[in-house]
Every structure is written in C-alpha cells, then in structure tokens.
C-alpha cells in the first residue's frame, strides 16, 4: 500500500490538482459574493437561525477535529509516552492548520471581520462565553504556530531560532492543554445560555464537559485517520522511525480512544439520569439521540477495543472514521438539529449550497497547505541535521 510508484503518485496528484483548482476557483467567486452582497446572498441564515454550518462545521467541528495537537503533544511530552514521538509533528501541523482555517472561516461568518480584535482591544465583554472562546482560540493559534515553527525553521535552516523554540516545548505543551481545556469546553458552554432553544436531551449543565471529552476522542481518532491518509499519499516522505512507530500509534491511540469513548458514554447516561430525561428517549428526537449515543459512541468504543485486542489495524482505522463522524454528528445535533427544535419546520434552517461551497473551499485550502508543507518540511521524517532533537 505504501509503495506507490512515482508515476502513480503523479497521476493521483494531477487529479487532486484539478479538483483543488476547481474548488478554489469556485471558492474565490463565492468569497466575492459574500463580501459584496452580504450573508443574505450566499446563506440561508435568518433571524430565527443566526448560526449555520459555518459555525456548526467550520467552528465547532473544526476546533474539535484539530484537537489532535494538544492530545498528542501532551501524551508524548507530559505523560512521557515517547513511543508516539513521530506522531507529534503531523498532529501539531494539522492542529495548527485546523485552527488557522477556523479563523479564516470566522471571517466569512461575522458581519465585520476587521472588528474581530475589538473584544480584546476596544471593549471586553467578559460575561460572554464567546469572549473566552475568542481569547483562547486566538492565543492557542499563536501557541500552535510556535509549536509548529521548528519544522519550518529546520526547513529554512534557522538553527538558533529553532533551538530557542525547542527549549520552550514543555511550557508550550502545558499552555496548549490549558487553553484547549478552556475553549473546547467553552464551545459547548456557548449553548448554556439557550435552554429554551436546545432540546433537553442535548442541553445539559455538563455540556462544557461533554465538549471537552469529545475533543479528546476527536483528537485521538483524527490522528489515526490522518495517519491512514498520509500513509497512502505521503509514505515516501516517511522515515524509518515514523513507519516503525505508526502501527504502535494506531494501536495505542485506538486503545485510549476506546477508553475515553466508554467514559463519555457513561457521563452521557449519567447526564440523562441526573436530569431525569429518560421519557424523551421514546420521542423522535430521542431515537435520533440514541442513534448518536449507541451508533457513534458505544459502537466505536467497542470496535476500538475489539480492534486493539485482535491487533486489527484495519478495524481501528475504520473505527476512527466512525468516531470522527460521531463527533461531527454531535456538533451538528447541538447547534442545528436539536437547536430551535421548538420552531415549525418552515422556520428551520437548511444550508444553502453556497455555504457548503465555502466550507469545502476552506477544507481544500487546508489540504493544499498540508501537502505543500509535508512535501517540503520535516513533518513525517526527522531532519538529518536535527536527529533526536524534536
């Protein structure tokens, strides 16, 4: 699988280039529409539905799926799991790109993006959960940039700057975990203010904790999923260490994800119990809730466990997709499906194709940047001049 010939690689990439070219072209056009005609010209947002998929997918899913950075770096640097060291750089890179794209997407969504620094420099709305989210995401994006920078510095040959940043590794990792704990949970806390709009099965005083725990699941699963993809397309860039450690990363992260999913399942059931919301489970929303809880939490937990036990890498990789989809489903349920559940269907929101177009455009920018970076910088291999140093 990993042994793709140069010719094959070229044909894959030329197809990718073609698709990327089209998506980016359409994206630029949609960007023009957005900033010349306002949100009304490209979205189905309304006064009842002020947040659409740019919040559900680009912000809520984007931040959760970019959690691999803090999860992996804390496992390796703080918990001392050195055998996963080769997974750190790809995870930090995808985390950094993920957050950068979240920031890009936010610029499309807010009305006056040039005022985004206002909450920091003009007037601080400290009673707002969104203030905390903004502050943490901005700070964490900076932290991720610094954490990522050694790879770029090795590529550019900036030895001194690099050694300075590498000395900060532990500090930055701790910073990353603190900031991630706060904003991952706060993204859930955003919805605490609207108990009258979010269905009781999804509304819970524990929602910040649910969001934080699912970010760990997303982070672990994304590392497995991304490694599957990069083995398919960039195996030729990987060094001996990376290739040797990869199976261990899949097994270890799969095991951890299985446990965290089991814990998450438990706290979800406890949440239903403490609020005594059992009776909702027989309604339509209840069945949908069970689909999420059983199909995308309990099932991946069991499949991960089974995959680890039987050392079935294929099953673990499949399960990682299931778990990632589960987190995406959860974010969509909280912010769209179960939000405004009290409104008649005529007042509900469904995304305009151009909203989806912008989201695809932003993901595509991420893929292009990822490819640009991993084919140039020491992400999937150690730079020969800096052996055992990062």
């Amino acid at each position: 699988m990993a042994q793709v010939t140069t010719a094959e690689r070229k044909s894959i990439f030329s197809l990718f280039n073609l698709i990327a070219f089209i998506v980016l072209g359409v994206g630029v056009y949609l960007t023009y529409l957005r900033f010349s005609g306002g949100l009304a010209s490209v979205t189905n947002l309304s006064d009842y539905n002020p947040w659409g998929i740019w919040i559900s997918f680009d912000l809520l899913c984007g931040v959760a799926l970019a959690a691999g950075g803090y999860v992996t770096s804390s496992a390796v640097y703080l918990f001392g799991m050195k055998k996963y060291h080769s997974a750190v750089r790809p995870a930090i890179l995808t985390g950094f790109l993920g957050y950068a794209l979240v920031f890009l997407a936010i610029n499309y969504d807010v009305g006056r993006p040039w005022r985004l620094p206002y909450p920091l420099v003009v007037q601080q709305g400290t009673t707002s959960v969104l203030f905390e989210v903004g502050l943490c995401v901005a700070t964490y994006l900076t932290v991720l940039f610094i954490e990522f920078s050694p790879a770029a510095m090795e590529w550019l040959g900036l030895k001194k700057a690099r050694s300075l940043v590498v000395k900060l590794t532990i500090l930055l990792t701790i910073f990353g975990v603190v900031l991630s704990t706060m904003h991952q949970s706060s993204l859930g806390a955003l919805f605490l203010i609207a108990p009258s709009k979010l269905h009781p099965l999804w509304y819970s005083p524990y929602i910040p904790i649910y969001f934080f725990v699912t970010s760990i699941i997303a982070g672990l699963s994304m590392v497995i999923f991304e490694s599957t993809l990069s083995h398919r397309f960039f195996a030729y860039k990987m060094d001996e260490t990376h290739l040797q450690e990869a199976n261990g990363v899949t097994l270890g992260f799969g095991k951890a994800a299985s446990y965290v999913l089991a814990g998450y399942f438990a706290i979800k059931v406890l949440g239903i119990s403490t609020e005594n919301h059992w009776h909702y489970l027989t309604t339509g929303y209840g069945i949908w809730y069970l689909v999420e809880l059983l199909g995308f939490v309990a099932l991946p937990s069991l499949l991960y466990a089974f995959g680890v036990r039987t050392k079935s890498l294929g099953l673990i990789k499949f399960t990682s997709v299931l778990a990632v989809l589960g987190v995406i489903l959860n974010r969509f349920n909280v912010s769209l499906v179960a939000f405004n559940w009290h409104l008649p269907s005529s007042e509900r929101y469904f995304p305009h194709w151009m909203e989806i177009g912008i989201s695809v455009f932003i993901v595509m920018i991420g893929l292009v940047l990822y490819r640009f970076i991993v084919t140039r910088m020491p992400i999937l291999y150690e730079h020969p001049d800096y052996k055992d140093a990062h």
Partner: protein, 319 residues
C-alpha cells in the same frame, strides 16, 4: 526574608480588595437583581388591544424605518404570524380567543428589555447596555456581527441586516431610549388609542396590573408576564387568555440569562490555576520514572558486568 506584621496585613488587605473590585460576572451569588430602581416599564394589556397597528406605524416613524409594502392601515397582514424584522421593531399578531371565539386577541411583540438581558450577557464586545431607564440599547459602532445575541435571546427578538455586505447591524426596539431621556413617551405608547399600553415606573406598572386583577378577576389570567420571566423584564403583559395561546413561552423559567453561563465561566480561573500544576506534576512523575528506569538499567548492567568479570578471571586462572 522577614515579613512585618504590617506588611502581612497589607497583603491580606490587598488580596481581599482585589476580590471585590473589578466586574463580577454575578457568578454563584445569592443576590437577586430586581432591576434598576425607578426604571421604567411598559404594561401591555392585551384585553384592551384591538389590533389597529397604530403602534407599528408610530414605531416605524420614530425609528425612521423604511415604509412597508402594505400600509399600516391594512389589517389583512394580521392574518399571518409575523416576527420582528430589521424593518419592524414591533409587530402585532392576532390569535384565536379560547374564551370567546368571536373576539380574537392581539398581542404586540417587541424587545422585552430584560432586567438582566441575555443579549448583553452574551455579547463579547459589550455592544448592549442595560440603561437606568430600563431600556436595553445597542451600539453598532463596536458590534462585530457574531449574532450570539440572537442565539442567546429567549424571546427571539434581535434581527440582523443579512443583506448588508459591509455594515450589518443588529436591529431591535430601543424602548425609545432617546425619547424617554428627553421626557417623551415611547412612540408606540403615545400612539395607542386604546390605552392598551401604559408607561411608568416598573413598580407602579406592576401595581396597576394587580389592581386590574383585583377589580376584574374574571377578565384576567392572574399572572403578570415579565414580572419574573427570565429574571424579569421591563415590558410587562396581562392577558385574558393563557399566555401560551398568544404564542408566548411559559417554560422560560425565572433564571436570569447571565446565571446560565456564570458557572461555566467561573471555572475558568480554576483551570488556569490548577491545570499547570497538575500537568507539571505529571511531567515530573514521568521524568522521574524515566530516570529511575535508566539508573536501574545502569545498575543491572554494572552488576551483570561485575558478575561476569570474576567468572572471566576464574577461567583465565584455570587456563
């Protein structure tokens, strides 16, 4: 370093003071904010409202909003349920009367001007202000356009100029703040020909409502909507039919919106304070384990070598 008693007391004082200054998010307090004293309120008596839309016309005029497609004298618009929009800060809707099917009920909808507004609490740039008059005002010069206020508002009032490319604003009723501070009545109140709207001090409006309940017990449901809903509002309603039948939510509870997020926000400083300690501790433990493992390995190696050496020397002797 020696610490004088005086210095110590100074520090304690400073620590104590620092907890009292600065703005509290009203987290986990048992204080109940009942609104600014002497703030104004508007009492809407739906039993007196005839659905003439004079208030809508007046609102349109004083706020200099664009003319609607159908004139305000056209009452056919009452046949469909409407909500507040960027072009109409208030709308009157018609509802069936469960008590008397021949006489429909009318209910005027606009911003309720909460005592502790969800929008103001949710805004990360403090674009909303709860003024002492009771009005919740909005400052478009700082607004970023994130629309979290619209998510937060339990009454679904704020509207957004989605069609504006570069200068979208939130639009909503201002309780005619500019007029009230000049001593004028809010536009809608002034225009109402039926006295279905009364303006005055909030305490007085509550008293008037209760007085009406006492005088005409058969005419009213014994509840002032807005007295306690979401912590209380500066717009109050009395009705002859259950409020639910007027499309008003009766399940909002009496918790002011800021309290809903205060708990989560109050955990932030604890994470900032404790997480680094915990994480550094875990780092130290794993570091130490590594070190012990290394020394043990070295010891095992040296002892293995020690054992081997005499054995080697013995063989040498034998030869």
């Amino acid at each position: 370093m020696s610490i004088s008693r005086r210095k110590f007391l100074g520090w304690v004082g400073a620590a104590g003071l620092s907890t009292t200054i600065g703005k509290s998010a009203a987290a986990a307090t048992n204080k109940h904010f009942t609104g600014y004293p002497k703030s104004f309120a508007i009492l809407h008596d739906t039993t007196l409202c005839v659905g003439c839309r004079s208030c809508e016309a007046a609102c349109n005029k004083v706020n200099e909003l664009p003319q609607p497609d159908k004139p305000f004298t056209d009452l056919s618009v009452l046949e469909t349920k409407r909500r507040t929009t960027t072009k109409a800060f208030t709308v009157v809707n018609k509802y069936d009367n469960s008590k008397g099917p021949q006489s429909p009920v009318f209910y005027k909808k606009q911003c309720n001007h909460c005592l502790e507004p969800a929008c103001a609490s949710a805004c990360f740039v403090r674009a909303f202000t709860k003024t002492k008059t009771g009005a919740v005002t909005y400052d478009s010069t700082v607004c970023v356009g994130c629309r979290y206020c619209m998510i937060a508002c339990p009454f679904e009032i704020p509207t957004y100029e989605y069609d504006q490319a570069l200068t979208p604003r939130i639009r909503k009723c201002t309780m005619c703040y500019p007029r009230v501070i000049e001593g004028l009545l809010p536009g809608c109140v002034e225009a109402c020909p039926m006295e279905a709207l009364s303006f005055g001090k909030r305490e007085d409006m509550i008293k008037i409502a209760r007085e009406r309940f006492r005088k005409y017990p058969d005419r009213y449901v014994d509840h002032i909507y807005g007295e306690h809903e979401m912590g209380g509002t500066n717009w109050l309603y009395v009705s002859g039919t259950p409020f639910k039948e007027l499309g008003m939510r009766e399940d909002l509870g009496i918790t002011p919106a800021p309290q809903l997020t205060a708990g989560a926000l109050s955990s932030v400083p604890m994470i900032v304070g404790l997480w680094p300690v915990l994480l550094a501790g875990i780092y130290a433990v794993s570091k130490r384990k590594e070190k012990i493992a290394q020394t043990e390995q070295e010891q095992a190696l040296t002892s293995a070598l020690d054992k081997k050496r005499p054995a080697e020397s013995e063989t040498e002797e034998e030869s």
